[in-house]
């Protein structure tokens, strides 16, 4: 199978899975953005994307996408290190015009994946998983996602929103801004990963020439900034709310 046996085939799989994840991120970021405008709208999305069959299929495909992207990244990096040989250069320099991100894609990817585990524990486990199994893994009703997000990042909550039968003990107040900062660090790594990843994917699929090479590089930065900007706006909004509630 040429998709696994040839170098360009493997890179093609990386590109397709990567661009698929970029589309998902755009989708996810736009949904998050509703939190700033209307909590009801966010809760409507939570309801729509709960444990419905289409949401579950979507989650499965998404997980597969992440898995493929990660597995191929590991294989490619292993092969590339082998191709480099055992002897390393004594003097290593960075060439002009070569992005830092482009040489550290695996490291950035691992950072992104590491935070993803935290993110899944924070949200997926307490929302879709809760709805799926009926176990009360979180203090809030999964269909009232907005209240949970607000609680996680600011510590503010309405006691009436706590689920019946759940023993709720609020976490230390300083943890809320720490979560905000952690998510912002995560987004930084994501920005660098995307700033190279998007154009590299397009180049691997052959969509580049002397005119378009610079254009796809700009597109890459724009896409990375839009995605990270939308996610970060929500975090900054809640960080502001935390500061407003605790410092004044």
């Amino acid at each position: 199978m040429w998709l696994t046996d040839s170098s360009i085939g493997r890179k093609f799989v990386m590109s397709i899975s990567g661009l698929f994840l970029v589309l998902f991120l755009l989708f996810h970021a736009s949904m998050n953005l509703t939190l700033i405008f209307s909590e009801d709208a966010y809760n409507w999305i939570c309801e729509m994307l709960g444990a419905n069959w289409y949401a579950l299929i979507g989650t499965g495909v998404l997980a597969l996408g992440v898995l493929v992207h990660f597995a191929f990244a590991i294989v490619l990096t292993y092969q590339n290190r082998k191709a480099r040989g055992n002897d390393r250069y004594a003097v290593e320099t960075r060439q002009e015009g070569v992005d830092w991100a482009s040489k550290n894609m695996l490291a950035l990817g691992i950072i992104v994946l590491g935070f993803l585990v935290l993110h899944l524990a924070n949200f997926w486990f307490k929302m879709q998983f809760q709805e799926l199994t009926g176990l009360k893994t979180g203090a809030f009703d999964p269909q009232n996602g907005a209240a949970y997000v607000k609680y996680l990042f600011t510590g503010l909550y309405d006691p009436a929103g706590i689920q019946e039968g759940y023993e709720f003990s609020p976490m230390a107040n300083w943890l809320h801004p720490v979560y905000c900062i952690l998510y912002l660090v995560w987004l930084c790594a994501l920005w660098f990963h995307l700033s190279h990843g998007v154009w590299s994917a397009l180049q691997t699929m052959g969509m580049s020439n002397t005119l378009w090479l610079n254009r796809i590089k700009v597109i890459s930065i724009v896409v990375a900034t839009i995605i990270v900007g939308m996610f970060a706006a929500v975090i900054v909004y809640y960080l502001g709310m935390f500061v407003g509630a605790n410092c004044f």
Binding site: N80, K82, A83
Partner: protein
Amino acid sequence: MDKNINIKVRVWRQAGPKAKGYFETYELKNIFQGASFLEMMDILNEQLIAEHKDPIAFDHDCREGICGMCSMYVNGHPHGPDSAITTCQLHMRKFNDGETITVEPWRSHAFPVIKDLMVDRGAYDKIMQAGGFISVNTGGVPDANAIPIPKAKADEAMDAASCIGCGACAAACKNGSAMLFVAAKVSQLALLPQGKVEAAKRAKAMVAKMDELGFGNCTNTGACAAECPKSVSLTNIARLNREFLAAKFQD
């Protein structure tokens, strides 16, 4: 103004392909900055021979930047710190008095060291043999203007054809990938009508040979194009990807 400088040269010495390599530092006095880098290496070798030591083995041939034979990794750059030139075109005026210059061979799994700074770049020849050619019928010489070729295409093909196969791309690449070389060789033919006949077969055969020889997978860092002595563009890699993917989807 060019003047005479005193330098130290830290050179990779390796007796043979299996031997363990090490760095050795040599002192050179009164090197004229107008001298080329290879002339400096010649002076160093004469000094070594006078001391009854083994001279440093390094590749060189035309010494005018067209053969692609010279191959040193100088101060962290293939073909030295200057841009768009080969090592033989590098001059000592790029270095300062008292400087220590580190000289290493290309380091890549597919380019094993033969001796000192000399590496075996036969892998590139094997890739060429796999598909870097066109088939033509022998007979009378056809008229040069019989096949019209747009100027832009001809220019692009010529730019790709400027690749001298020196191996700097694979040497500079953190992935040890030969994509820029293969892309240049595929592009120069794919752009012209004469190369269209075998285009699909060529892309597949050359990529397969490149993978088989143990070169890495391209991640588009762009280090190859930045270090290429002939400034071969990264866009050729996109063309190779296009050619290869099109050929595979056709199958």
